[in-house]
Amino acid sequence: MSIMKSVNDFLMRLSSKLKGGGDKAIEKQKKKGKNTARERIEDLLLDEDSFLEIDLFVEHSVKDFGMDRKELAGDGVITGYGKVHSRPVAVFAQDFTVAGGSLGRAHSKKIVKVMDGAAQAGIPLIGINDSGGARIQEGVESLCGYGEIFYRNTKLSGVVPQISVILGPCAGGAVYSPALTDFVFVVDRISNMFITGPQVIKTVLGEDITQEELGGALTHATITGNAHFYTKSETEAFNTLKKLLSFLPANSNENPPVRSSIPPDQPLGDDVIPDNRSQAYCVKDIIRGIVDASDFLEVHEHFAANMVVGFARLAGRPIGIIANQPRVLAGVLDVDASDKAARFIRFCDCFNIPLLTLVDTPGYLPGADQEHAGVIRHGAKILYAYSEASVPKMTVIMRKAYGGAYIAMCSRHLGATFVASWPCGEIAVMGPEGAANIIFRKEIAAAENPEEYRQKMISEYEDKFANPYVAANKGYVDTIIRASMTRESLIKVLSRTGQSRKGHPHGNIPL
């Protein structure tokens, strides 16, 4: 073949492969309000013209069930490397237009190759899931494919950031690859995740439930906590993903990218929280008053809202923030909040991101429900995660820091680098009412006017213990600062903490 003939032959083969499942299938994909796999990678995720595709010409070798007559472009997945805001990433996108994006041996080998490539280069891995599931014609080969992907998700955990974007169905065993990654994005009315679909549930159990209710985007964002980011459109999902990447290093040996420092739009005043300790306020307002440009990227916004976690910058350096949210459930710790915080803390520790903990919590949520849901087992995860973390750990006690929850929220005792309290901080075993009722129970009962005596004892306890000075006297609180000085103090702490330790301290096991 002459050179030009071979080039023309190549171009013809290429254009057929680039069409994926063909015009009809693409039209169907569009009708569902979905972009194609190629659009997702090239138009929505990566910098323009940065995509280098690999394995476009990979083909399956299955002979059974008429598969030998089926040509599947790229075997239903697009893989390669590219750049996001000029920083390299590895990427794969399942192509629903090709055999429903079903996962066969060749398909999985392509994903595995790009995962190994991410590991070798030390760059983040982004997976876009849109697949009907296992390619049944391939039997155990397909299961083998999933298994090899799960194995690598685990081995890469804590080494490079792994992000999953669910943009279509992701059902059965397939759900476990995203579940092993660090962050999962879902899009309203496009994403679906479940182990067993509504049809099977209906047949086997007689339970009627819609696909949306069972495993739609909102379900995973609010109830199960499987999804970390919930967006209204694919475009919004990828924009949020790019923002997320801007806080993260390429791998666990690097430090997160530093930018120039920008002061918050609305700096904190000294009276940012209400006078009454039982009055709610939104802790996100406090966060925005501390961090650069008041810019806070919240993770798990709709799940366990009594705990707020997310990324921001302080003097240009990325930090991970963990904060009790008095606005919801008074900011108590419970099963879900514990899981949420613990996994976030461990992620930050994997990738050299310093932690800032903002404390205002009355304690653990009481009740048989919580006890039986395993609040002991789940609550222990926060203690473990904070104690284990070796990144700089800064804690600000804003108001209530009671009992076990005080210890859990990155106290000095769990190895905090720096603990500050605002003047209205209350570090005690419990709130004044509860404490007075226990300590003076006999005296209250015997008093001539029990209620009057009770109030007197409450205010006595309040004067004595509802302040940060007892803890500061012992050195458990390093310093007492006015709210308005918070940002300045934290920047000083951060500037004296060195750069990251090198290496791979631990993975980021799903919690």
Partner: protein, 105 residues
């Protein structure tokens, strides 16, 4: 915003805060051993006891077809079979009452 705030009491202190729906669920208590309920939805295959029978802990009361298995539903206590609410062939929902057991004091 303020109108969806509720009260939550922790250690005798009352907090004004949002209480999400799923946190309001009252505690359902320990299951009553005198009520034999379906632990999974399915179809009754066979009822192995009759009303008035004396039975012991572990006696198989009925077979429930679910998840492609004939599941044995057993008694958790010694007692006498009270009312039987279902018959073979019935489809039952999860937690549906199947049999009342009379447990001696």
């Amino acid at each position: 915003m303020e109108n969806n705030l509720d009260k939550l009491i922790i250690d005798d202190t009352e907090y004004v805060t949002e209480v999400p729906e799923h946190s309001r669920k009252p505690y359902e208590g320990v299951p009553d051993p005198s009520e034999i309920k379906a632990f999974i939805p399915g179809i009754i295959v066979e009822i192995k006891v009759s009303e008035g029978d004396s039975i012991e802990t572990g006696t198989v009361l009925l077979l429930l077809d679910a998840m492609k298995m004939h599941n044995e539903v057993c008694s958790g206590k010694n007692g006498i079979i009270g009312k039987i609410h279902v018959s073979a062939g019935d489809s039952v929902q999860k937690n549906q009452l199947l049999i009342n057991l009379i447990i001696p004091e």
